[in-house]
Each structure stands twice: as C-alpha cells, then as structure tokens.
Amino acid sequence: MSTAIQNISLSGKKKEVSNKEMTFWEKLYLIAIVKGLWITIKHFFKKKATIHYPEQVRAFSPVYRGRHMLKRDEQGRENCTACGLCALSCPAEAITMKAAERKKGEEHLYREEKYAEIYEINMLRCIFCGLCEEACPKDAIYLTISKELVPAQYDREDFIFGKDKLVMPLEMAIKNTQLKNAN
C-alpha cells in the first residue's frame, strides 16, 4: 500500500499545521524570547559577510563582459568591415553603423576594402549580452574586462558611444604587437 500524496515529504521538512492551544509555558513567551536571544547572539560572533569595498575587491567572474572595444590588428588597422552582423544579432537594437569604401592611401588605417565610417552603440540600450562579439566574423568587436562600464552623464546623447570611444587606442595596438613579438 502506498502512502497518500498528502503525506509524502520529499525534503523531509514538511510540518503539519496545527491550531492546538498553547501550554502555560508557551503562553509566557519567555522561553521563546530566550531562544531568540540565543540565536541573535550567535550571529554576533559569526564571521561577517561584508566585503570592505575599496580595500577588498571581489574577484570578477571569468565570463565577465565589460565595455565594448573595436579591435585593431597587429599593424594597427581597424578590423571592422561594416558587415552589420553585430547590429543584426543585437537583441536590444543598440548598434548602428554606416559603411564607407576604403580609398587609396588608407590601407594602413583599415584592413578590408570596406570599413565603418560611423559606428555607434547606444549604451542605454545595450544589455552586455555579448552576442555582437559572437556574431562578428572579423574578430572586430569584443567585450573587454574593463570594470568601468558606462560613466554617468547628464544628456542622453552622451550615452551613444561613437568610434572615438569604441576603437582601440593606437598605442594599445602597438603595445600588443610588441608584446606578441617579444613572446
């Protein structure tokens, strides 16, 4: 014979609710209060959960996704070819861009024949999901581990980040190349 469904307790923590009269000692509440005081005083001596922020910093998750950056290759040329796959994959509709053709004499600036003349990410829309990074065939956009996400601003326009804020600084590209060659 199996037990009725009402009596099954998989967690073993099931408790029957009852309306029984309290005994005299229960009605006094003194024992319950002493028990409560005991519980709180135990917490007094427990290890504290606080992380002292500026001095102690909690380690970031290994899959942390910070601010976007548009990469340059070893020769300092922009990777982005303005294919628009990142904008297409973006679930928040945060990315827009305008493509332009590379002119003669600009080969040291852009890797492909086509490049993004304007590349904008609306940081108020972005949810930092990283789908743009996944979609990019040229390894151009990626999410850094930068702890500074989006600084506070007074105007909405200031949250639309253009190429001036997104493209990797040239010095950083040079440094990266030097590091790579040194290894």
Partner: protein
C-alpha cells in the same frame, strides 16, 4: 555650607553631565555597531578607528542641517518639546549613586549629586514629566501622524508606569527605604545569611516586570510604537529637523543610559561586586570603591547592550497587544508579587 562642598558638588555634577552625554553619544555608535554585528555586518568603520568618530560626524551633520519649522501656530511649543525631553533625561542622573564614597584631599566625597531620601519617587516624577516632551512635540508639529504617535507614547507610558510602580513597591517593602543610596548599600557583598544580597535574586518577578516596563518607558523595541515607521512615518519627531531632532534622539539614548543605571542600582547590586570587602581590607578603600564605579558602568553597559540585543530579536508589538500585556498581565502579576513578598516578609522575619 562650606565652599569646598559647593565646589565638590559642582565638579561632580559637571562630570556626571559629561558622562551622560558621552554615554548617550556612544550609545548611538553602539546601536549601529551592535545592529550590524547581529546582522552579520560590520557597521560604521570609516570615521576613526572602528567608526569611533561617527557620533561626532553625526552631530556635526545635524548642526549643519536646515532648521525647519512646519506650518504651525505653536512655534514656541515646537521648541519646548525637545527641550523638555532633553532636560528630563538629564535630570534623573542626579540621584543615582555612582559609587561608594571616595577619600580625597582629606574629605569623604559621596559619589552622588544629591542623596534625597525619596530618590525613587523623584526618578518616577521626572520620567513622568518626560512624556510631556513627546506630547508637546507631537501636538505642536501640526501633523496627524505626529499627534497619533504622541498619543500612543503617552498612553503607553502612563499604562506601564503603573506596573513599574507596583513592581518597585515589592522591592521597597523589602528594603524599607526610598533612598537609592541605602538600597545600594543594602546590597553590599554578594552572599549573606544563606542567600544572595542582590535584589534580583530575591525579587526575580519584580525585576522582570520592571525590565519590561523599562523597555516600554524608554520607547524601545518591542514597545517602540511611538516611532513605528511603517504606520507613523517617523513618529512624534517627523516634523523635526536639525538639532531639535538630535535632541529627541539624544534624549532617548540618555534615557536608556539612565534606566540601565536604575536597573543596575535597584536590582543588580549597584556598585557592589563579590569580594568588595576583601578589596577594601587588603588593597585600600579608595581602590575598592573606584573598582565599584567601574563595575557599575560595566553593568550599565551590559543593560544598554541588552536593550540593543532585544531590539534585533523581538518584533514590535501591536497596539492592543501592548495594552493587553500592560493592564491584564503585568499589573495583576505585580500585585500578586506584592502579596507574595508581604507574606514572605511576615513568615521569614
């Protein structure tokens, strides 16, 4: 009256005033620290070592705040309210015996501002006036929440004063005096004639009633209905700002200090500690009595800690539960306690 006496008393009063203020100041720090520790946090720790300068920073902030007056015709009463709360909180410390006498400069210095023989009645009288601070403040605020809060506070204090007084009567029947100094002296030593000398051991029920009433009188949780944020915004000091608000909060902590002192003096042997007689025989009377002062302050600090400890343990009472506890449980219990004490005195003496 010789001038040395006047100097002695003035110095003593100033010292007691300063100590009460400092204790009230650091109670605010301790409140936050204890609350944090009981909740697995660390509490204020930026201003000074362990946040010890926090009360100064808070005080400075309060002084710098705007002095706000609500749209009320009772501007005078609005100022009088916190003033009454503060002065009554400070007046009670006059009759508390902080220690036995000290022998300095060839004089016996009694460590009490004044030893009047009705000190307990004096304390009760002053505490009752303290209700007016809350009442007037709430009334003058011209705000229905403040008024409701002060009505609650007043009725709560009036109801619990009855039980408190009855609890004290049983104690007074045993001690036979109203003077706090004599009550403290009667509890000297720790063990005499086969029983403890401290009153808490011969009056446990009275102590319990007194303790519960002390919580209610100082408006502390679980009886802080006058300040319950969820129903009454901030309570009677909703409309107050700047140092007038600071006075109310300060008065509350000063009251806590004084009521802890009275609890220690009445029931926990005041400045007496086990082995005090041995100390004064072998080390010196002054040393023994100074240690007595320290012991009294340890007891007071324990009670202040207890107030905070209970605050984070027991949730707030509902108003009808509060009245039920006061009138239907504590007062009958106190009367039974008086009768049992009377019978015991008749049988054993």
């Amino acid at each position: 009256m010789d001038s040395a006496f006047i100097i002695e008393k003035s110095v003593f009063i100033v010292v007691i005033f300063a100590i009460t203020m400092i204790m009230a100041m650091y109670s605010t720090w301790a409140e936050r620290k204890v609350a944090a520790y009981l909740q697995d946090r660390v509490g204020p720790n930026r201003a000074g070592w362990g946040g010890l300068l926090q009360p100064l920073a808070d005080g400075m902030k309060l002084f710098a705040k705007e002095e706000f007056f609500p749209n009320t015709p009772n501007r005078f009463l609005f100022v009088v309210g916190p003033a009454i709360a503060m002065s009554t909180a400070l007046m009670t410390s006059a009759v508390i015996p902080w220690g036995d006498k000290l022998h300095i400069f060839g004089r016996d210095v009694i460590l009490q501002a004044t030893d009047i023989d009705v000190s307990i009645l004096y304390v009760f009288g002053i505490i009752s006036i303290g209700v007016y601070g809350v009442m007037i403040g709430g009334w003058a605020s011209n705000n229905k929440f403040s008024l409701m809060s002060s009505v609650r506070a007043a009725s709560q204090m009036v109801s619990y004063e009855v039980a408190m007084g009855l609890a004290i009567i049983a104690l007074l029947m045993m001690s036979g005096t109203l003077s706090l100094k004599e009550i403290a002296e009667q509890q000297s030593g720790f063990w005499k004639d086969g029983w403890f000398t401290w009153n808490v051991f011969s009056q446990p029920v009275g102590f319990l009633i007194f303790l519960v009433c002390a919580f209610a009188e100082t408006n502390r949780t679980p009886f802080d209905l006058a300040e319950c944020e969820s129903e009454l915004i901030g309570g009677y000091h909703t409309e107050y700002s700047s140092m007038k608000m600071g006075f109310y909060l300060f008065a509350e902590y000063a009251n806590m200090f004084i009521s802890s002192a009275i609890l220690a003096v009445l029931y926990f042997g005041a400045y007496n500690y086990p082995g005090m007689q041995w100390m004064s025989d072998n080390v010196g009377v002054n040393a023994a009595n100074i240690l007595g002062i320290v012991v009294l302050f340890i007891k007071i600090c324990f009670f202040i800690f207890f107030y905070m400890w209970v605050r984070w343990t027991i949730p707030r009472f509902r108003y009808d539960q509060l009245m039920h506890l006061g009138w239907k449980i504590l007062i009958p219990l106190a009367i039974v306690n008086i009768m049992v004490t009377g019978v015991c005195i008749l049988v054993f003496k």
